[in-house]
């Protein structure tokens, strides 16, 4: 009896020891990538980047993990930050679609690799518009445009400038909706376009480090007036959806005629039949709706940091950047000069040569909070 229980416990310990390393340590040569992006992006990594990268770098594999959303990946990043002083293994190497300003204090503590000093061969190719903090590496972009129902709005009459859009929204009350600016980029960039409109349509006026309370008051207050003026003419007397997907759903249910939508989301929704074939897409010509770039961050204390930097350099190659355009429906993170010439030619009509990019950081905070306090509540929803 004693011998048997000893055998059982010994076997249990041995099994535990055999399993333990798999759970406790990241494997050398296996890059753990955590995603905030949606499934279509993870599919793109699984089907395009992963096989190509693994073929080019024998012995290195990618482990693609859906981190859910930004908060999910932030928990991973906080774990890595906590592991930093002790030199412990954070079990994570790359964060995709994550703002490396978070968790606060991370950059100061050296949590993230500074790409400007990391010696990536493709770093200089990055679209200068896309650069933010040097710990974030932009690798794909997307722009907001207007999606509309061509059965209700003739493409010949579709508004192509901001004043025409405002006039159309007011002439067709209840037919336009955008989402809350913090809940999805389509509404967020619609709000930012209003800020450009209020400040003379000059994207250069806003940079990531020129935020001051005075400049924010001077530029945001008139924008809130523009948006408040619109609110009564929006769907249901001033309703705002809580995300990009819900806006697309309202357009697909024919509850509204026009929404702002991400270019890649609208294109894939049309190709999957979520939006009907009769959906039209248009970009404003006076100044386009802004877009944004998705970035990756590399943990400086990851076990596979060197391999992760190879991966970061790899996603900026012409091969992957062209695939972003053709396979993902996104815009490249590098300047257009570094895209295959035939693709440059093919996409030149639908992709503008400049994407206004509104800076994040303190501006984002000011816009989100300002909109919730100034625009969202000041609507009489009961008005007929």
């Amino acid at each position: 009896m004693k011998r048997r229980s000893f055998m059982i416990s010994a076997a249990g310990t041995a099994a535990g020891l055999a399993l333990m390393p798999r759970f406790a340590f990241a494997e050398a040569g296996k890059i753990d990538v955590y995603f905030t992006s949606d499934q279509n992006v993870i599919d793109f990594w699984t089907n395009v980047i992963k096989p190509k990268f693994e073929a080019a770098n024998a012995g290195i594999t990618l482990n693609l993990v859906d981190g859910g959303d930004s908060a999910g990946v932030q928990a991973i990043a906080e774990r890595a930050l906590a592991a930093l002083p002790s030199g412990a293994d954070p079990q994570s190497d790359v964060a995709e679609g994550f703002d490396t300003r978070l968790p606060s204090g991370g950059i100061e503590a050296g949590l993230w690799v500074d790409f400007s000093a990391a010696g990536l061969s493709n770093y200089s190719k990055i679209n200068p518009l896309a650069l933010d903090v040097p710990t974030s590496l932009p690798y794909r972009g997307s722009q907001v445009l207007l999606a509309y129902d061509t059965t209700k709005l003739d493409p010949a009459n579709v508004p192509k400038t901001w004043p025409a859009l405002v006039a159309w929204i007011k002439a067709n009350p209840g037919q336009f909706i955008y989402n809350r600016p913090d809940k999805g980029g389509s509404g967020g960039n619609f709000v930012r376009r209003a800020i450009y409109e209020a400040t003379g349509n000059d994207p250069a006026k806003f940079t990531v480090d020129n935020y001051t309370q005075e400049l924010a008051d001077a530029s945001l207050t008139p924008a809130w007036d523009i948006l408040k003026d619109l609110s009564g003419s929006l769907f249901d007397n001033g309703a705002y959806t809580s995300g990009n997907t819900q806006s697309v759903q309202l357009l697909s249910q024919s509850a509204v005629t026009m929404i702002p939508a991400w270019s890649d989301q609208a294109l894939s929704a049309i190709s999957q039949g979520v939006l009907p074939e009769t959906t039209g897409l248009v970009q404003l010509t006076d100044l386009g709706l802004p877009g944004g770039f998705t970035k990756i961050g590399v943990f400086s204390n990851g076990v596979n940091k060197d391999a992760a930097l190879k991966l970061a350099d790899f996603v900026l190659t012409e091969e992957i950047q062209s695939a972003v355009l053709t396979e993902l429906g996104g815009y490249p993170g590098v300047s257009w000069d570094y895209i295959a010439a035939d693709l440059r030619e093919k996409f030149k009509d639908i992709v503008p040569t400049s994407i206004p990019v509104f800076p994040g950081g303190d501006w984002e905070k000011a816009i989100n909070d300002g909109w919730y306090r100034a625009v969202a509540p000041n609507v009489d929803r009961t008005a007929a």
């Binding site: 249901d236 759903q249 249910q253 024919s254 509850a255 919730y372 929803r381």
Partner: protein, 291 residues
């Protein structure tokens, strides 16, 4: 062979008490570590703030800001309103269902019970999108009304009624189950006795059934109120942009505004309201357990 009295199991024998205490020690320690301590630490973090020079000192400024900020107060008010309305509607819907299930003896009751418990197995994010499809603009209800030439209804989607309807549907199973367990305490004999002396249906409900299940009603209300107060997904997807319920408001303050101190202040205030119902629950359980 002597049979021990049953009450010895719960430890009336004084010499066995430490064993009982040891048995509950693990959960009590877990609660202290994972719940009580975070609450204390949260409260400390909101009243022990750094001043301009970075020195920590006692201050109630975050609370002063919350209660002087109309936007925050509106959010708190809409949360209280949603909680009260949802709890009321839930009781009005679930009490008849529970009464029916308690007294019905036919096969249909089994299907009704299955249907009443069904929402428990539907994740709220799926419920939210289904809600937009069914009750949203140009949704199924609109199409059906339209088909029989009835006027278009104003959709509750993106109004304060959106989360109310979603939360009611989502909380039906728990409320029905709690009320049903309470109705198990009502004996058929007492009802038959009341009927024998000529009590009508309402009199039976009012004088016989309700007094017996008042405890369950209290527990049901406490549970639903706690759940609704901290609801996130349904108010987030179905509710209006402003005023927003405390759940989305806290999350937005914490994540989008990157302002943990204010978010924790909001959480402590929400906790202050919830603890009242928590104490109700503890009180009613303790009252039940008293010999």
């Amino acid at each position: 062979m002597t049979v021990l009295p049953a009450n010895d199991i719960v430890g009336t024998n004084k010499s066995r008490r430490p064993v009982g205490l040891l048995l509950v020690a693990a959960p009590v320690l877990l609660v202290c570590w994972l719940i009580i301590w975070p609450i204390i630490s949260a409260i400390i973090r909101t009243i022990w703030l750094p001043d301009a020079a970075g020195e920590k000192r006692f201050s109630l400024e975050t609370y002063q800001f919350f209660f002087s900020d109309q936007y925050s107060i509106n959010n708190l008010m809409v949360t209280l309103w949603t909680t009260a309305v949802t709890a009321l509607i839930l009781l009005l819907i679930c009490l008849p269902i529970a009464l029916y299930l308690r007294f019905a003896t036919n096969r249909i009751a089994a299907y009704v019970q299955g249907l009443a418990i069904f929402p428990m197995f539907v994740p709220s994010i799926i419920l939210s999108y289904a809600f937009i499809r069914v009750l949203g603009p140009n949704g199924t209800v609109d199409l059906l009304l339209n088909a029989v030439h009835l006027p278009h209804i104003r959709s509750p989607y993106l109004t304060p009624w959106g989360p109310v309807l979603g939360l009611v549907w989502d909380n039906i199973p728990l409320t029905v189950l709690i009320l049903l367990s309470g109705l198990g305490n009502v004996s058929n004999q007492s009802i038959e006795a009341a009927r024998d002396v000529g009590a009508g249906r309402l009199a039976v409900l009012w004088h016989i059934i309700l007094p017996r299940i008042s405890n369950s009603l209290l527990v049901a209300v406490s549970f639903t109120v706690l759940g609704i107060f901290s609801a996130f997904t349904l108010p987030y997807v179905l509710g209006p942009a402003a005023p927003e319920m405390m759940g989305p408001f806290m999350q937005r303050t914490f994540r989008d505004l990157n302002d943990p101190t204010t978010a924790i202040t909001q959480a402590v205030i929400a906790f202050g309201f919830c603890i009242v119902f928590g104490l109700f629950y503890v009180y009613s359980v303790a009252k039940n357990r008293a010999p």
